[in-house]
């Protein structure tokens, strides 16, 4: 506590910035932990429900139960687009195969768009973690360098270089580096962890898109 009180203005500002970084980083880590945990567990439940159901409209009526899963967004988008294609098909006079394939393409594009929007949603705020992880140690180092400069100035003024004069100033300055590292280490760990989890979710979304398109194509071809 005495170390914090004894620091200069610049070092105090640096410490405040680092504390802000740390608070926001931990907020993002907590939020992402909950978000990704929910996305994973509800995706598993949704896939189970999806394979057990026989009809898309039955799934669409129950999809609100799995609101946190990115797969439900994909399903909604794909199913919505499929309905539009079917409605357009039924309103037109013929049912040529070329039109059916065009419909599958439409669904594929809708699924790709939904996947991209979900990736963006899942990766939101992660850039802040990356920024904190890479810049906090440097900000802390800046505070330390400034603190040591001030300490040496004081030593020069007093004319005494005894350990009792030098040590407190350096200890105060090093607090900035310590807090910089305290902010950066969890941010880097969290960033890497969430990147891995999001990559797994992206693979799941790709697999689901492929399965959805297969089902759509089988049904249209089997008309």
């Amino acid at each position: 506590m005495a170390l914090l009180v004894g620091t200069g203005l610049i070092v105090k500002i640096v410490l405040l910035i680092l504390v802000f970084f740390s608070v926001v980083s931990w907020a993002i880590i907590m939020f992402k932990l909950v978000q990704i945990h929910r996305a994973n567990s509800e995706s598993l439940r949704f896939m189970d429900f999806f394979w057990k159901s026989k009809r898309f409209d039955a799934i669409a009526s129950q999809v609100d139960r799995f609101a946190s899963s990115p797969l439900t967004v994909l399903f909604n988008e794909g199913y919505g687009e499929l309905k539009k294609v079917v409605e357009t098909d039924s309103s037109s006079d013929g049912s040529a195969l070329s039109t059916d394939l065009g419909g599958v393409e439409n669904v594929s594009r809708a699924l790709r768009r939904a996947t991209n929007s979900e990736i963006t949603r899942l990766e939101k705020y992660l850039t802040f973690l990356a920024t904190t992880g890479s810049t906090s140690p440097f900000i802390g180092l800046f505070g330390t360098v400034w603190g040591i400069m001030t300490a040496f100035e004081g030593i020069g003024k007093t004319g005494s270089a005894s350990l009792a004069v030098v040590a407190p100033g350096i200890a105060e300055a090093l607090v900035a580096t310590a807090i910089g590292l305290v902010a950066a280490i969890p941010a880097v760990m969290g960033y890497n962890h969430f990147q891995h989890k999001i990559r797994v979710l992206i693979k799941e979304m790709d697999s689901f898109s492929t399965e959805f398109l297969n089902i759509v194509q089988r049904n249209i071809a089997g008309k």
Binding site: A27, F31, V34, T158, S162, L163, A167
Partner: protein
């Protein structure tokens, strides 16, 4: 999508509040920990041993010639022999043989051996006498023979109560030293009570460097915590000069 976005933002807000609370809790925990186990930055005290006067039975006791009234005096050194070791005398018969040495080669050899033994004996006796003389002069010159501890009344550096106090002050000044002028100097008179506590302190003269005066006051405060009681249970007043180089006695 808008409803989903709103949910996300409220979730982030809740996380921010939770994170702030956690950081505050950690900060308070650290403050509490710091109060519970304060970090002490005291430097260890340096002890000096007077090597010249080291051979005493106990460091508190002093030398055999101590003039103080301490109860725990050193044991008396074994008395030196009054007369130097006698030179071994050659047997009388040998002198007789010396007189007749010229008579035969065997007699000459024995006379030579006798003379050599006498010379060796004389040399050893002289050496021993010189060693004893050196020891006597050293004991006489050393006064009380204290080993740098308070309570004695000798005059050798490190064996005097005032010298001891001066060295403690010098140690403390090394820690607190702080000055803003080129030649700071403060002359102080200290009055030490019978129990070793500093009863009064008076700045007699100062070069005007207020920073150095503060450093001197702090040094005196720091050192006075560990002043031992003066010898003979008498109050001691001590004049010292503090300057950039250290502490020296004030002779006036």
């Amino acid at each position: 999508m808008t409803a989903r976005q709103t949910t996300i933002d409220s979730g982030m807000g809740v996380s921010c509040i939770a994170s702030t609370v956690v950081h505050l809790a950690v900060f308070l925990l650290l403050v509490w920990w710091g109060k519970l186990f304060p970090v002490s930055m005291n430097l260890q005290e340096t002890y000096y041993v007077d090597v010249v006067n080291l051979p005493v039975s106990a460091p508190q006791a002093g030398s055999p010639q101590q003039k103080g009234n301490d109860t725990e005096a050193a044991p008396q050194a074994s008395k030196l022999p009054e007369s130097p070791m006698t030179v071994p005398q050659a047997p009388k018969s040998s002198s007789k043989t010396a007189k007749t040495a010229t008579k035969s080669p065997d007699q000459n050899e024995s006379a030579f051996a006798d003379r050599m033994s006498r010379l060796e004996g004389k040399s050893a006796a002289r050496q021993q006498e010189a060693t004893l003389e050196r020891l006597r002069s050293k004991v006489t010159a050393s006064g009380s023979g204290r080993a740098g501890m308070p309570g004695a009344s000798g005059k050798t550096a490190g064996s005097n109560y005032k010298d001891y106090i001066q060295s403690r002050l010098e140690d403390a000044l090394k820690v607190t030293s702080f000055y803003t002028t080129i030649k700071p100097e403060v002359v102080v008179r200290l009055y030490i009570a019978t129990d070793g506590k500093l009863s009064k302190m008076k700045i007699e003269r100062s070069s005007g460097d207020s920073a150095f005066e503060i450093a001197v006051r702090r040094a005196i405060e720091l050192a006075s915590d560990k002043f031992p009681p003066p010898p003979n249970h008498k109050e001691v007043d001590l004049g010292v000069i503090f300057n950039r180089k250290g502490v020296s006695p004030n002779q006036h």
